[in-house]
Each structure stands twice: as structure tokens, then as C-alpha cells.
């Protein structure tokens, strides 16, 4: 997707979008390495707390629902921008950011609870792998929330319109990627014993 003043490219594709997909590919390898490290070491601790003693499935299920809902809100925000609906864009961008912040609230509660239960990043190898993996994911969500809030302000000021849909689409790609990473983490870290 591009505007009329965009010069032709060798691939016939927008370079920004192609570059961002390449970045997402590199992020896939980054999270792949963190997930594999967790999978290898999660059951290698010699001292507790162990994963089955501390992971809270009902709480994490709720935060997963929240993040999935934020992904739906994000795609509806892009749809609104593409249709030229400023009110729709503002509503759905705000909804996405709010759902992202709720997810971060769940994660902050979980981390605090784990620390009170005696699990820190230094307690055992499970704690190290868990906090590094989910912490990096949370950092990505935080960046995404800041990005969304920036887009919301720009849209409010009339600086994001139908012609700037690519800017929202790129932010959407990032947000959905954060969501698919969580889909993998929820299954591999929380549900699989």
C-alpha cells in the first residue's frame, strides 16, 4: 500500500512494508531463541518454585483473551483509517491501547505475585528463563502501547488520514506480531506441562 508520490520499487512492493516484514522475521528468530531456552531449562531447576506450583492458568487465560481482543480492535482501527473514518480510528486505536495496558497490568500483577512467592529472575533457571521471555514480550507490548498512543494523538490532530493508512498498517503488523508471540507463549509456557 502506498501513495501516488511513492517511486516505483524493484519488487513492486512498498519498501517500508517489506522492511518491516523483514524486521518481524528477525523478531521471530529472537523470540524463537528465548522460547527454546525456556523449553530446555524449565524443568532443570534444582530448587523451587517450579512451573506447575506457580503458574496461574485462569489469570493468564484472561490476559490472553484481552490481548486477542486488542488484536481485533487493531485490525478494526486500520479498517476505519482505510475507510477515512476518524471517529472509528480514534475509538479502535484507543481500545487497542487500553487492552494493551490491561494486559500489562495482568503481567505486572503476575510478576509481583511470583516475587512474593519467592520466584525472581535469580531464584533458579526456570525463573531466569521465564522472566527473560515474558519480560521481553512485555517490553514489546509496552513499545506497542506507546506507538498506538502516538498514532491516536496524530489522528486526533488530523495528521493521520486515509492517505496515511500504511502508518497504521505497520503499527498493526507490530501489534499482531506481539499477539502471535503471546499465542505461542501461552501454549508452550503455561498450558503444556
Amino acid at each position: 500500500m502506498a501513495t501516488a508520490h511513492h517511486p516505483p520499487t524493484a519488487t513492486g512492493l512498498d519498501n517500508v512494508k517489506l522492511g518491516f516484514w523483514t524486521f518481524i522475521g528477525s523478531e521471530t528468530l529472537f523470540f524463537g531463541s528465548l522460547i527454546s531456552t525456556y523449553m530446555v531449562y524449565k524443568s532443570a531447576s534444582v530448587t523451587g518454585p517450579y512451573p506447575h506450583e506457580i503458574l496461574n492458568i485462569p489469570l493468564t487465560s484472561m490476559s490472553t483473551f484481552v490481548l486477542l481482543t486488542s488484536s481485533l480492535a487493531m485490525v478494526l482501527a486500520l479498517n476505519a483509517v482505510q475507510r477515512g473514518s476518524k471517529a472509528g480510528a480514534l475509538t479502535w486505536l484507543a481500545a487497542t491501547a487500553v487492552f494493551g495496558m490491561i494486559f500489562l497490568g495482568f503481567q505486572a500483577y503476575e510478576f509481583t505475585h511470583f516475587v512474593h512467592e519467592g520466584l525472581t529472575i535469580k531464584t533458579n533457571i526456570f525463573g531466569s528463563a521465564f522472566f527473560v521471555l515474558t519480560g521481553f514480550h512485555g517490553a514489546h507490548v509496552s513499545v506497542g502501547v506507546l506507538w498506538l498512543l502516538t498514532l491516536w494523538v496524530l489522528t486526533l490532530r488530523g495528521k493521520i488520514g486515509k492517505q496515511d493508512a500504511l502508518k497504521v498498517e505497520i503499527a498493526g503488523l507490530y501489534w499482531h506480531f506481539v499477539d502471535v508471540v503471546w499465542i505461542a507463549i501461552f501454549t508452550l509456557v503455561y498450558l503444556i506441562p
Binding site: W21, S36, V40, Y41, S71, L72, N79, R83, I183
Partner: protein
């Protein structure tokens, strides 16, 4: 989605009802994942079942919310190639540490 200008920037993308339907399907699959986790009778097939459900969710988001289903195959290639490599790394390390006899799985920290 090329550089050709189009006034209708939603061209080739579905309508909002379609996205809501995908969202509902994702919610149902997540509910199924959690339900499967708590059903003792499914303990034997828990891991493959969860992996199938999770892969389905992953594919739905990537294909429809990230629009790979409607975009150029080049975008799919630059994402799927590292994804396959990442899956090989994860599976390879799990086999090396937890499946191979006398492998590195004895290490404890």
C-alpha cells in the same frame, strides 16, 4: 499490495464483519485450549491437541489480521522462512536436551 496508487485503500481487504468473525473464532479456540487443559481424560493427547489449536490461532492472526492471505507472497516468504528456522531451533534443542539418551538433559541448575 504494490506501489500502485488506489483511492480505495481497503481494496483487497475484508470488511469489518469478517474481522469480528475471526475474533470470535480466536476466542472460541482459546476457550477450547483452556478447557482441554482441565479435562483429565485428554491428558494423553494434551500436547498435540494444544499445539494444533495454538497453530490454528497463530495462522488465523497471521493470514487475516496481518493480511498475509491477501498480500504479496514476498511478505509471506520473509516471515515464514525465519519462522521455520525458529521452529527447527526449538524442536532441535528440545530433542537434544530432553529426548536424546544421555544427552544434555541431565544438567540441572
Amino acid at each position: 499490495m504494490g506501489v500502485t496508487h488506489s483511492e480505495d485503500t481497503t481494496a483487497g481487504h475484508p470488511k469489518w464483519r469478517f474481522y469480528v468473525m475471526i475474533g470470535v473464532i480466536l476466542t472460541v479456540i482459546t476457550a477450547a485450549e483452556v478447557a482441554v487443559f482441565y479435562i483429565p481424560a485428554l491428558r494423553g493427547v494434551l500436547v498435540p491437541l494444544l499445539l494444533v489449536l495454538s497453530t490454528g490461532k497463530f495462522a488465523l492472526v497471521v493470514m487475516f489480521f496481518m493480511h498475509l492471505r491477501f498480500d504479496s507472497p514476498i511478505f509471506s516468504a520473509v516471515f515464514v522462512a525465519p519462522l521455520i528456522l525458529a521452529v527447527f531451533v526449538i524442536v532441535g534443542l528440545i530433542i537434544l536436551f530432553h529426548v536424546v539418551p544421555h544427552g544434555m538433559g541431565e544438567i540441572a541448575y
